[in-house]
Every structure is written in structure tokens, then in C-alpha cells.
Assembly symmetry: C2
Homo-oligomer: 296 residues x 2
């Protein structure tokens, strides 16, 4: 069994009837499994996480999109999270046996579908059509309120759909990204400056690992600090290497690692290098894991 | 999706038509997945490994057993591996979401099925009816050739089926055992006595870990030695603890771990404590692994 994950962000987090109506369209598609749903009233935004065979995930996402576009009116939307459309961001995430190229093809099919419904669509990350559209914040700059003017700029002509402002639905960003790991390392000190120093040591922007974003923060009431990280591509920057670097930098201050956390869904593949490293299990094949046979 | 594994050993490893006929009965059952088949002409014995929902695995094993009992004649069997029956040993192994008690009930259903076909049946390991029948070698002592006399001893009255010698089929041992891990640690020395010393340090019989069997041996031509182990219950004696003890004992001789091996199928659960230990990932839930959602 192959698996493509999809994590659409829709601009409704208060009227749960609308959220549930959209979600039901996903649940209705055979072979699609919903992992997680979260709605935030302050953000006025909901995120669904589901996965299944690529075709089933595309069908579920299209059905969900129809409901979201029908029931959400961006001209009346308020919320604290940046957004530019009713169906704001729709990342497709290859999880198991799906190539980046195939996931991009699914994202493109979804983009054409939305474009035909009159929604301007931008492709981002692995599906981007030009470098300046690779990153979501660049595309979303100006948000829904700036979209009417932005669409008049030829540099921001949409990748699909009309170059015309859609008052009700705004615009949608869709594309393909690698599964992201939310990895936190808790340190046995109350000195947040140590977590901040270590965050700078491991993150890409300051000379650290290519696929790490990091900040240092205090864990209130626990007397600990945390190096809070996103690992954006665990095949290039694996978990164990980042942890051992954090451990080493912390030791310089006489500080130990208290614990770590992986938040949310984690693809099994993220653990392959971890197991091979610590167990020195060089020749191990992940297919030896019994449960994997059940997924074939 | 729950999974029970079954690993029947049949007394035919030369006539592959018979082996395949038996195997086809397993493959015919919907939802049963064959992981591994091996036939050894010298042993004159074959081992199948398959898994699926408990009821499906029982049905597959019964269908396979009918063919094996019909096509294998123990009165003409010769082979170098100890055996007492056409269907020699049939362990059921709980892998995912199946309790020991439920697996024992499946083994008992299978035992009654065989008994009704006129085959004397002994239950072993977790399904044993008395302590002296817990271990396979004790039950199989005297082999097929000693069975006629053994069955006249009231102490060896079978758990199911007639207390009478079945010339064609011999007797069958069935039951439930925990998944076994074949875990080898390769050491960077050519001195086999070091591997032997470490094997004695970690194995149960000499005062080591409760669920470890171990021997030391030389890896011919590689200039390395190996501590070759079976971990008989990884929930009680986890992989990482054994490895770190081997590493520590080897360091006493100035010897390093070159690599390790896990041979054959490994349940994902065997890695839970490994990941939590080395990553200090105390609160992680294995359900967070994305692929696990596909098995629900």
C-alpha cells in the first residue's frame, strides 16, 4: 500500500458545522484515513491531516475543496493567522512509495481542478514553477486583502485559474513538501540563553545543518529550556545527528539532555538512520519489519 | 489490522511439489501474507512464515495441514533435523494487537482440529498444559522413531488426539511463543575467546539477561568474531540493553563493536524501547508512526 499525505489548511475555525461538512467529504472516500483534525478559533482556521493511495487522496481533497469553497466566504473572514484564501494552503506530502514527481503531478491535477472552479492557484515548494514561488510566506505576502492588487502584477499571474480576484474564495497555494518533523530537545537548565546558543549552532540560517530550523525557549514551570526544531528533510539531516550535536554543545555548558519530543505524525522512514546509527545495524532493511508486509 | 504470525515446520524439504502444494493452501486464504519460505534438502524440512488476522491464519494453517498430512509419509522420512511428525512444529506468534491468551486459543483450536484427524498433539511454550511440556526438545526427545513407545507412557499422553501411534503422520507440537529476535553483534577482533566470554556474560544460563541465549563464534575470513544471540522476549530484555552490555564487556578487552545484525522478520515493537532509549524520547507513542494508521 502506497501513501500520500495531505494537510489542507482551510480558513474556518469557528463554525464547526462547516469544518465537519468539509471533513466528512474526506472521510467518505474509501481508503483515506484521517489522522488528525485541529480547529483554532483565534486563527479562524482548521487543519486536516489524512493519507491514502494518491488517487484516493486527490479525490478526497477535491470533494473537501468543493465544500470549503462553497461554505467559506473570505470577504467576511477574520483571524489572526496569515491567509489568502478559503482553501488557503494544500500541501501534498509523500509518505510511502510515492515519488516527489508523482506527488507533484497530483498537486498539479488538484491545481487545475481549482483553477477550473475560478480560483487563482499558486504552486509552491517542490511544485513551484519559479524560485520566487517556492516559499509560502513570499506567495502569501499581502494576504487576502492585498490579493486584488497583487493579481494585477504580471509577476504574480497565477499558475492555474483566472488572473482575477475571487472575492469569495481568494487564492489557494498548493504543492508538495517533504514530511516535516517537529523535534524538541529539553535541556536540564533554566538558562534560556543556552538553548538559544544551541539553536543558532544547529540551524541552517546560522551555519548549522541544512534541513534544520530552530529556536531556543524556556519551558515555564519545569525549570528546563528547549531547543525547538523543525527537521525539513530527515533523509538529509537525520534526527540522531541533530540530537548528538545538541548534546555535544550542551555538554560544553555542563548541561545534559533531559528528554526529547517528536510532535505529531512521524513517517517510519525517519527512524531508519536512527536505528542503524545507534544499533550499528548497517545492513538492516526496513522491509524486515513485520508490519511492513501488511502494507504491501 | 491485527496480526498473528504462524511458522509451521513440515517434514518435507526435497519434494518441492509437496512443499508448494502445502504453501498454496496458505496463499489461497484472503488476508494471509506469506513472508518467507525455506526448504532444506539435508534437513528434509521446510519452514513457512505467514501472518494475518487470527481467524484467517487458523484457516490457512488447517488447510495447509490437511495437505501436509496427506502427502507426507513419516514412515519413509529421513533428514538430519530432529522431528517427530509430518507437521512437526506449528508455533503461533502474536505480532500486533493479539494477546497471548487469544493466540493460545487459536493454537488449541488447531490442536483439536489435528486431534480429530487422528494425530497426537502436544501443546508447548505459552500453550503448554504442564511445565515438562513447555520446551520443544523435551517433547521431541526420542523423535518419530521413539514415538510408538513414548505414547504408551501415561506421562506422555497427548494433549489432543489418540494416545496411539500414527505411522504415517507421527505427532505434532503446536503452541504459542513470543517473536524471537536473532541478534548478532560483530566485534573487531579475531580472538573468538572474547566473543565466548561475552556470550557467557549476557546469556541467562550463566547469570546474564533473562531472555537471552548466546554463543560466541568466529566469522571466517572476516577477521571478526560474533556474539550470536536469540532474544526470546524483547519486551523484557530489549535490544539496546543487550548491545550496550556487549559493548561494555568488549571495551574491557579494548575491542569495539564493528556492526550488528537482526536476521529475519522483526516486529516494529522491538524498536520501541531502542528509539526511546537512544533518543530519550520518553513520551513517544508508536501510534504516531504514520504507517501505523494504515494498519488500523
Amino acid at each position: 500500500m502506497r501513501a500520500l499525505m495531505c494537510e489542507p489548511n482551510i480558513s474556518e475555525g469557528r463554525d464547526l458545522k462547516v469544518v465537519n461538512a468539509a471533513l466528512e467529504e474526506v472521510q467518505r472516500v474509501a481508503g483515506v484515513k484521517v489522522l488528525h483534525v485541529s480547529s483554532d478559533a483565534d486563527h479562524n482556521r482548521s487543519v486536516f491531516t489524512y493519507l491514502g493511495e494518491p488517487d484516493a487522496v486527490l479525490a478526497a481533497t477535491q470533494a473537501m475543496a468543493r465544500v470549503a469553497l462553497q461554505r467559506i466566504d473570505m470577504s467576511r473572514h477574520q483571524g489572526s493567522h496569515p491567509r489568502m484564501g478559503a482553501l488557503d494552503v494544500v500541501p501534498f506530502i509523500p509518505v510511502r512509495g510515492v515519488s516527489i514527481a508523482e506527488a507533484v503531478e497530483i498537486a498539479r491535477q488538484f491545481g487545475r481542478f481549482l483553477g477550473a472552479l475560478g480560483v487563482p492557484v499558486y504552486y509552491y515548494e517542490e511544485a513551484a514553477t519559479r524560485p520566487e514561488r517556492a516559499h509560502l510566506p513570499d506567495i502569501r505576502k499581502g494576504q487576502y486583502e492585498g490579493l486584488e492588487v497583487k493579481l494585477q502584477d504580471p509577476a504574480w499571474a497565477p499558475d492555474e485559474g483566472p488572473a482575477a480576484f475571487n472575492l469569495k474564495s481568494g487564492a489557494t497555494v498548493t504543492g508538495v513538501r517533504f514530511p516535516l518533523l517537529a523535534f524538541n530537545v529539553n535541556l536540564r537548565t533554566a538558562d534560556v540563553s543556552i538553548a538559544e546558543r544551541i539553536a543558532r549552532a544547529v540551524r541552517h540560517i546560522n551555519g548549522g545543518y541544512r534541513c534544520v530550523r530552530a529556536i531556543g525557549l524556556a519551558l515555564q514551570g519545569q525549570g528546563l529550556v528547549q531547543v525547538s526544531m523543525n527537521l525539513t528533510d530527515y533523509t538529509r539531516t537525520p534526527i540522531h545527528r541533530v540530537l548528538e550535536t545538541v548534546r555535544n554543545e550542551a555538554a560544553r555548558h555542563g548541561v545534559s539532555v533531559a528528554s526529547t519530543e517528536l510532535v505529531g505524525p512521524v513517517p517510519l522512514g525517519a527512524f531508519e538512520e536512527v536505528l542503524k546509527h545507534y544499533l550499528q545495524l548497517h545492513g538492516f532493511k526496513m522491509e524486515q519489519i513485520v508490519e511492513m508486509a501488511l502494507l504491501e
